[in-house]
Amino acid sequence: METKFGRIKVLYPKQRLIDKIKGHVEALNAGLKEAIKPGRITIEYPRERRELPDNFRGFLLFDVDACISCFQCAFVCPANAINMRGAPNGRYYPCIDYTKCIFCHFCADTCPRGALHRTKIHDVAFSDMDEMLATTEELLKPPEMIREDKYLVKYEIKDGDIVLVKEETVVELAERPKFEIRPAKVSACAHPENCIACTLCVMTCPSNAISTKVENGRRVLIIDPKLCTGCGLCVKECPTCALALIER
């Protein structure tokens, strides 16, 4: 392989009669070697299951009390699979339509509170598409699924070759990974002179942090920093960009 500043000329195997016969013999004993000592790497799925890493992107679980219904998961989903649905307490919680979900887990990465977290459930088949719309209530606990696996198979490389290590364990698919809550900001009015008192922020704030009342001809708006979860919806909703997120 003569290499001149980074290019190799590809070498063609010689094709004289003697090389052809040698080629045939090589091919035959490659097959024979494999037939005598097979290098099998098959995972017998219904009985064995492949070991999946912790950040595997499978079905999603939802944790209601962590959610601040900030709509970020619905907005970021490339396949528009997450729709929010009104809950009895007036707020909106996500429902995932698994007929559209592409398991890219942008939503799990976006959620500032880690309310949507990953599980290792992925081998599922549904008989009709209406069952696949998981509303908020159905996202809280992992779905019961038919599991026939008795072994767990690990891919390991020992002295240069793949070895499938089989363990006799039925692995737990849906434990909740730890997630450090990000220190959230607080919403505040940075340009009060721009405000046109349209109270859109009051109507949109999921945690009722902004309250308003009319006193002698002037509308007063108050932000309660303790209630504010820093979801940023009011900042986005304000038509004249009067609000802003500041450090707590």
Partner: protein, 417 residues
Amino acid sequence: MKDMAIDIPVEPPAELKSLFIPIPPEYVEDAYNKDEYLVLVGPQHPGSGHMRIILRLKGDIIMDAIPDPGYVHRSMEKLAENRLYIQNIPLLERPSIMDPGNYNLGYVRVIEKAMDIEVPERARYIRTILAELGRIGTHLYDAGILAVFLGHTTGFMWPFGLRELICESFLRATGTRITSSFIVPGGIRWDLDEKVLDFINKSTYTLEKRLKGFERIFIKNPAVISRLRDVGILNRREAIEYGVVGPFLRASGVEYDVRRVEPYEAYPELDWDVPIAEDGDAYSRFLVRVEEIYQSISIIRQAISDMPGGPVMSEDLIGRIKEKDKVSRDIRGYFYRIFSKLKLPSGEYTVLTEAARGTLLYSIVSDGESNVPYRVRIITPGWAYLRGFMESLKGSRVSDLQAIYGSFGYFPPEADR
């Protein structure tokens, strides 16, 4: 021998209308009058992917090949115009899902070039590793398809066995087997720890060991060599004229590789070679890609051995989050806040990337105000060399169609976008 043209009236076959075959009826009449034979190698044919090739045969020789692509045209350019910049990452990775690294890299580099975001060192190395893993995976996939088209079932099974290793590396690094959408503007979504990099490094040795066996049973198999040698020849002038790209261009003697012409990520810092062949026939196309697998293996090993430390997300993007005690340097939890405000300055930005099957061109036109691209143009390698593929079919035999199809590694979802 004289052509016995029987002049009986020829009416075009019924399926011409029912299947919307795009050739005019007089073409069919002309074919039948010249005693030639029209065969539709259709989308359900085991020897053609999801596209139809209309072959005009004279005996066993192919006189003309008309492609009928579009069976997997999922209208990516129109969809990309209605989605945020960050939502386009999974969308623009779908043409060839075996090569997620290169397709994400192409799109993300356009955004980084437009907003001149500076990507940290470690992220560039990990991106190079992912791109090369995708390249090996695609070459193995094409070798498998070529083998099954030649009837060599072992040649199909072994590369897909090796692909299981590539998928295991992707699984441990990014969480999914194939469509990783892991590369985001400014870096990658999270950092790879030592265990994963060590696994990838060791898997390259297994890959190399088992490729030796594959070489004996398929690559150097005289029956395969006789099937691929001097078949579907594209000489240097034809390859350039018909716009063939990537390994298929290098197989015809043109030394063009985007990683060398417009170096990006960590390629200039590693030393590797560009495989070239001269004859431009199906076998040299296949050998160039086998050689590229070995080159990619050495690139991955070098990248892992001198992998720098440091953050994986560029300061220009994550720097905006002025949280006092930022919990960890990756972007979990800030994803939407950083990327939903991405807005390219107005103008057109064109970036070339060397995807596994050739030059991948992304050009995004932005109007500077909306957070949605105005026009995204993707030219995938498959679409670029379809013309060269059809030209190389002319003059070869009917059963060569599969050999040439496999040697070009033509993947219709990538070509139709």
